[in-house]
């Protein structure tokens, strides 16, 4: 069983982030980059599937500048067998269709049985890559899997729905599944894993050679959310206060 795990390297959530001069992304010089946390769960799921079947190959695929080899090595240290690095120049591509086309070009040749992705990335959060790739490869898709059950030629997936509902879906393999965070406990790389990762193969391919069509979507600029934290003070008689709160809940925050 061949499983591809698509991993993205994103700014760490504790990094201090400030907007760059061009105002179209953050200033990356002071950023600490990490493996996109949702992708960590996808990787763990892939490793668990391989281990439970007693056979298989897990391939980590990542697109980005040279620094992303770090997250590929991390994946290898945790147990993936080899990696593929889609080398990307500045600026970072954000158009989901372009990104998906590039991955599809690489994945198509290898005939993976299963493609796993995290539910979305912590940077742009478009949440589409896995499904787009599935459509482009002509295979079935499912998202927000909180449980997977791989059988021969089929996969059963428990999808998480809103408000505590769930749904089981059965798909033929090959399939592209996006993984909901929290379904497993990602492992830490063992020392042997870290040593062994140095020897595992990472194939590098230039992303623009794979697809360089027109971008369908652009990120024009980024800016700080304008909702200023102005604290509205509410005091007074209990009944008035309660009335005000109900109004806020209904019209301003809109949760009832």
């Amino acid at each position: 069983m061949k499983i591809a795990v698509l991993i993205k390297q994103v700014p760490g959530s504790e990094s201090s982030l400030s907007i760059n001069n061009a105002q179209n992304w953050v200033d990356e010089s002071s950023v600490t980059f990490v493996m996109n946390p949702p992708d960590n769960f996808a990787l763990e799921e892939a490793l668990l599937i391989k281990e439970s079947r007693g056979e298989g190959e897990v391939v980590v695929v990542s697109m980005g500048p040279s620094r992303v080899t770090k997250v590929i090595r991390e994946g290898l240290a945790k147990g993936a067998d080899r990696g593929i690095h889609l080398e990307e120049d500045d600026p970072m591509e954000i158009d989901p269709l372009t990104i998906a086309q590039r991955f599809t070009a690489v994945l198509k040749e290898e005939n993976f049985d299963l493609i796993l992705t995290g539910l979305q990335s912590d940077d742009t959060g478009m949440g589409q890559t896995g499904v787009l790739i599935g459509e482009m490869l002509g295979i079935s898709t499912a998202t927000l899997a909180i449980e997977t059950d791989v059988m021969d030629g089929q996969i059963k997936v428990k999808r998480e729905l809103e408000s505590g509902w769930f749904q089981w879906v059965q798909l033929p393999l090959p399939a592209s599944i996006s993984i909901q965070s929290g379904l497993n406990t990602p492992r830490y790389p063992s020392l042997k894993g870290i040593m062994g990762a140095k020897k595992k193969e990472i194939k590098a391919i230039h992303a623009s050679e794979l697809y360089n069509g027109t971008k369908s979507q652009l990120m024009n600029s980024i800016f700080l959310p304008t909702t200023s934290k102005k604290t509205e003070v509410i005091e007074g008689e209990v009944d008035q206060v309660v009335e005000k709160i109900v109004e806020i809940l209904r019209s301003e925050i809109k949760v009832i």
Binding site: V131, E135, Q167, I222, K229, V238, V255
Partner: protein, 313 residues
């Protein structure tokens, strides 16, 4: 038509986010049609007759009687190919995330998801865990959009009238390969604070264990979950999995409603990501008020019972 709004059936009634999506559509264009798919489509369509829409299209093919990504994306593509809308739009729900990218790839048009507002040059979505907003735009005149919960308010729905139309989709087992079972709920006790939209949080200001039930009742009235600060958990008044703060969970709900929480630093660090914070505390100097959007200075034990009453009516 200008805009095709794909609606979602929420266990028999029209999903709130679908209504909000229609409001968004009404902002963007004039000629708006809605699409309802699957079992119960006609009943949902009936609920729309008072809305200002051109028409409601229903699709009732048996292969999409319950939701599946293959079928829904195929249907939307076929409807879009037949009616050529400029914009396909929906509420940003788990269902939309599941099939709309398929439509994007099938039609080779961009999908801009989880939009919070419309700007002059494009659409605003949150990035980097909502630390920043980004303006996105499509390079083609055709696009797919989804709106985040509460980007628009259903109060602003323009009423009017619309007609119903049935669309015959062409579906077979070649293009609908997945099989989905009926959705189900799991037993209570599977509390997931992480994904709760609203958290009612209990602090020491609740004073006694006997008063903690007020938080649970308020939560029930709001469809929320209950969380707590560390001292309350340490005192054994609330189960430890509800603890929020530096050694408990970090949460980022849409609304964090705190009752008698002082806002000690170890707690506050766990709630910083909340989109809205209402804090009730009788101490006007409580540190939580620095973080809160709405600071209610008053006695929790007096306010909550009346609030519960007001919400239940």
């Amino acid at each position: 038509m200008d805009i095709l709004v794909v609606l979602e059936n929420n266990h028999g009634s029209l999903h709130r986010l679908s209504k909000e999506a229609i409001v968004g559509a009404q902002r963007l264009g004039d000629s708006i049609s809605a699409l309802v798919i699957g079992k119960g489509a006609n009943e949902i369509a009936d609920q729309l007759t008072g809305y200002d829409l051109e028409k409601v299209i229903t699709v009732s093919h048996e292969l999409v009687s319950s939701y599946n990504a293959d079928g829904y994306s195929e249907v939307v593509m076929q409807v879009a190919e037949s009616c050529s809308p400029k914009i396909i739009l929906a509420g940003h729900t788990y269902q939309t995330r599941d099939f709309m990218p398929r439509v994007s790839a099938k039609l080779a048009i961009p999908f801009i998801p989880d939009i919070v507002s419309i700007s002059d040059e494009g659409f605003v979505k949150q990035v980097l865990n909502a630390k920043f907003n980004a303006e996105m735009s499509s390079t083609s005149d055709k696009m797919i959009l989804s709106f985040q919960s509460a980007a628009f308010s259903e109060d602003e729905l323009r009423s009017g009238s619309c007609s119903m139309e049935v669309f015959e989709a062409t579906l077979d087992v070649n293009n609908v390969r997945s099989m989905s079972e009926e959705p189900f709920q799991e037993a209570e006790g599977d509390v997931d604070l992480d994904s709760a939209e609203v958290l009612v949080s209990v602090g020491r200001g609740i004073e006694k264990e006997e008063n903690v039930h007020l938080a649970f009742e308020l939560a029930k009235a709001m469809g929320a979950e209950v969380s707590a600060s560390r001292p309350v958990v340490d005192s054994g008044w609330v189960d430890s999995f509800r603890q929020v703060g530096s050694s408990g969970l970090n949460v980022a709900p849409k609304l964090y409603f705190s009752l008698g929480v002082s806002g000690a630093i170890q707690h506050v660090v766990g709630i910083k990501g909340s989109k809205n914070i209402i804090a009730i505390n009788k101490d006007p100097d409580a540190p939580i008020f620095e973080l809160a959007d709405y600071a209610v200075i008053g006695n929790v034990l007096e306010i909550i019972p009346k609030l519960i009453e007001a919400l239940n009516n």
